[in-house]
């Protein structure tokens, strides 16, 4: 008999409101289990699940689980359950699964609350795209939005887009359409659609989801005419005398990066006060045919000192974090039905079998 290969173990602590966990793995497991180290055998605590597991012969999203009721006896009894959703889903980020599109009924162009009666399978932090939103075609299509809040089967909030709207992004309210969950590529840094660009001595560029850029990195833009600020396009080709000099001087330098819970932006060393204001085209204009306004990585640069536009860090250096990197991983997503209860310390183990055979008895 050949043993399982032990892939590894991981721990996590559930927040007060548990969320799905993504466990990075080096191989696709054939057996994964999660144990609750906090509530295991605690008689006064009802917890479900305290143990959940998945085998590779089971469908994605399914699980087997054990829960324990509150008890006062000498021992703790457990009860078994199973399900087909909210369990374990293995994800190869290089070749991620695709998801069906789900109908939406409204998109608020200011708060970016997307109304939908079906939020199954969504978690905060997931990325979605909007498809063919009536009245808001300019935010439909290939843009990916990150979810910052979910009201179950009522709405999802695209908080990064809402922050861009607070800064100046103007999008009319949309009505019907679809959302679709998407696993974005992990080849970073990547090109991102621009949500909004301020007119400032150090322009702030907003995005619809968390951005991969790092201080010191050089970025360039392609801003089609309908978006206004075309002066920011193709900076790499524009002459300049150096990285901390007159504006523009080649590709823009990232001075600082914000990736908070609801704001994704970078501050660049380009003075855009005299540039045409950035604006999203209207829904009708976009439907007439436009390319997106995008920000793309343009190289490594000298890291600035604490966001300064003129002073390099001392000693000066370039930022290797901005190198192109394929960060795709094997991920085991543990859904809410298997992730454990609030505030519990959880332990994950994963194993891989040398072979998995289905035996059919004659």
């Amino acid at each position: 008999m050949l043993p399982y290969s032990f892939i590894g173990s991981w721990t996590y602590t559930n927040p007060a409101t548990p969320i799905a966990q993504n466990i990075p793995m080096t191989a696709k497991p054939d057996w994964v289990f999660v144990k609750d180290l906090t509530n295991w055998g605690a008689q006064s605590t009802a917890a479900n699940p305290i143990y959940s597991e998945w085998f590779s012969s089971m469908a994605a999203g399914s699980y087997l689980a054990l829960g324990q009721p509150s008890s006062t006896g000498a021992g703790v009894t457990t009860y078994a359950s199973q399900g087909t959703s909210g369990g374990f889903t293995f994800i190869d980020q290089t070749n991620p699964p695709t998801f069906t599109k789900v109908a939406i009924t409204a998109v608020n162009g200011t708060t970016f609350v997307v109304s939908t009666s079906n939020t199954a399978g969504l978690n905060v932090g997931d990325t979605v795209r909007l498809i063919n939103v009536t009245g808001a075609q300019q935010i439909s299509g290939s843009n990916l939005y990150q979810i910052t809040a979910i009201t179950a089967n009522t709405s999802i909030t695209l908080g990064y887009a809402a922050s861009a709207a607070s800064a100046g992004l103007v999008v009319a309210n949309g009505t019907t359409g679809f959302y679709q969950k998407v696993y974005p590529g992990q080849f970073l840094p990547n090109t991102l659609p621009v949500a909004y660009i301020t007119q400032a001595t150090q322009a702030v560029v907003y995005f619809f989801r968390q951005n991969p850029y790092t201080p010191g990195e050089l970025v360039d833009f392609q801003i089609p005419t309908p978006y206004g600020m075309t002066q920011l396009s193709n900076l790499t080709a524009k002459s300049g005398s150096g990285p901390f000099s007159s504006n523009p001087a080649g590709a823009a330098r990232v001075l600082s990066v914000t990736n908070s819970a609801t704001v994704s932006s970078i501050t660049i060393d380009v003075d855009t006060t005299g540039f045409t204001a950035f604006q999203f085209p209207t829904s009708a204009a976009y439907a007439g045919g436009h390319s997106p306004a995008v920000c793309m990585p343009a190289g490594s640069g000298v890291v600035p000192l604490n966001g300064s536009a003129t002073i390099p860090a001392s000693p000066p250096g370039t930022n290797l974090v901005d190198a192109f990197d394929n960060r795709s991983q094997f991920i085991m997503n543990i859904g809410l039905s298997a992730v454990g209860v609030a505030n519990a310390n959880m332990q994950v183990f994963a194993f891989k079998a040398d072979f998995v055979n289905g035996i059919t008895n004659a």
């Binding site: 050949l2 043993p3 290969s5 290089t94 695709t98 599109k101 795209r129 498809i131 063919n132 075609q137 439909s140 299509g141 290939s142 679809f178 679709q180 998407v182 590529g185 080849f187 970073l188 840094p189 990547n190 090109t191 360039d220 392609q222 193709n234 790499t236 080709a237 590709a251 976009y286 439907a287 045919g289 436009h290 390319s291 997106p292 995008v294 793309m296 990585p297 343009a298 190289g299 190198a323 192109f324 394929n326 040398d354």
Partner: protein, 414 residues
């Protein structure tokens, strides 16, 4: 290559026992004298030392100067010896490198040592022997050298492989010997060639071929993913399918061509001039567009698209080339980039990378190129020696050299 050069009269016996030397050679009437071995410099010095040590043990007595000479030739000042310097001025004038055939003793540096010997009985480890392509014995008489080849140049049994195994961390079962016909003039008898089993296992060879394919496709896929994630984006808008982006049209091709021209992108291919051939059209200086084969119907329906077989001259084309339109030539692959459901209406988008010269590159790191890794049974939790494993590895870095010279022209209609 190792050469044993025996000066004057010599009698040399090389036993087969646990050695790859098989045949006694030399003339019975000859007596012992000094001999000299030269090692091709690609043999590691430790291998040379073991070789000499083994030789010395079997000989029974040896000129002490041999080891000293060896050390001398390997010392810090003269790490290795030039064969020409060694032979001609120091020793018999009849011995010079011109006497050695096959260019064995050319100007390459060699390591040598000499000794007095009687009945040389050498057992030489196969791992050393494996580095010796040919053994030549030169027997010297008054007038000239006579070249005698041992009849079985490399003869080894699996028992001989013990040392080789221990050196390479492999087992006897990893190796195989195979009889091969020798050169009828020089090696009239068959010779046994020691090789790794992986060379002769059809299944493994098949796996190796598939791994090679996988490896190269992975390399392509990495660069594809890099361009997909990081290149600038232009939507096709000239079509009429009601989607954003639309299907590709000639106006979109011209648009991206204009963008690259505005960005000082250099052409990749030169003009294919018109010729007096029916049904052909010239192709302009062009940028290259790499796209998915799913785009072929879109291209064939595009006004102004010239299929490859309509080129005036196809001598400068690739097999994957589909055709050209104005100043862009299209190269299709089934591994081409597609983003599912990403259009305005939720249709698949083809990412068509239009590239100017030197827009992107691959960075190789030393030692990081393709590596095929074969492990015979018994490795990695295989105590019963049931399974072979084969794998390949490499690492490479992707780089866009100028973000303005590569454009992702996105199209639907696929």
């Amino acid at each position: 290559m190792a050469i044993a050069a025996f000066r004057k009269n010599i009698r040399c016996q090389l036993r087969s026992n646990d050695s790859f030397f098989r045949k006694e050679i030399g003339c019975p009437h000859l007596h012992h004298d000094s001999a000299m071995l030269l090692f091709y410099p690609k043999i590691w010095i430790n291998s040379c030392k073991k070789f000499i040590k083994r030789f010395a043990c079997d000989i029974g007595f040896i000129n002490l100067s041999a080891m000293e000479m060896f050390s001398f030739f390997r010392n810090n000042f003269i790490p290795v010896m030039n064969s020409k310097e060694f032979f001609k001025p120091i020793h018999d004038r009849n011995i010079n490198r011109s006497k050695f055939q096959d260019g064995a003793m050319d100007n390459r540096e060699n390591t040598c040592f000499s000794f007095n010997s009687v009945d040389v009985k050498a057992a030489i480890a196969v791992y050393v022997a494996s580095k010796i392509s040919k053994i030549q014995f030169f027997i010297h008489n008054v007038y000239s050298f006579t070249i005698v080849y041992i009849e079985k140049e490399i003869k080894s049994t699996l028992n001989d492989l013990g040392e080789w195994n221990s050196e390479r961390n492999m087992r006897k079962s990893d190796l195989a010997t195979k009889a091969q016909e020798g050169d009828p003039k020089r090696f009239p008898r068959s010779q046994h060639v020691v090789s790794h089993k992986s060379n002769s296992l059809p299944v493994l060879n098949s796996a190796a071929a598939r791994l090679g394919q996988s490896l190269r496709e992975t390399q392509d896929a990495l660069q594809r993913d890099n361009l997909e994630s990081s290149a600038s984006i232009i939507n096709c808008v000239g079509g009429n399918n009601g989607d954003i982006p639309t299907e590709m049209t000639i106006s979109d091709v011209d648009d991206v061509f204009t963008v690259l021209q505005n960005n000082s992108g250099e052409y990749i291919t030169n003009i294919v001039e018109a010729e007096l051939r029916f049904g052909t059209s010239p192709i302009g200086d062009a940028y290259g567009c790499m796209l998915t084969t799913r785009m072929i119907p879109v291209l064939y329906n595009m006004t102004g698209f010239i299929k490859k077989f309509q080129y005036p001259n196809i001598s400068q084309t690739l097999s994957v080339e589909i055709g050209g339109a104005n100043n862009v030539r299209f190269f299709a692959s089934e591994q081409g980039s597609v983003t599912p459901n990403a259009s305005l209406l939720g249709n698949d988008i083809a990412n068509c990378f239009v590239s100017a010269k030197e827009a992107y590159k691959v960075v190789w790191q030393a030692g990081g190129k393709a590596r095929f890794i074969y492990l015979p049974p018994g490795y990695n939790n295989d105590p019963c020696m049931l399974r072979h494993t084969a794998g390949c590895s490499f690492y490479q870095g992707q780089c866009i050299t100028n973000d303005l010279w590569i454009q992702n022209l996105r199209s639907t209609g696929i």
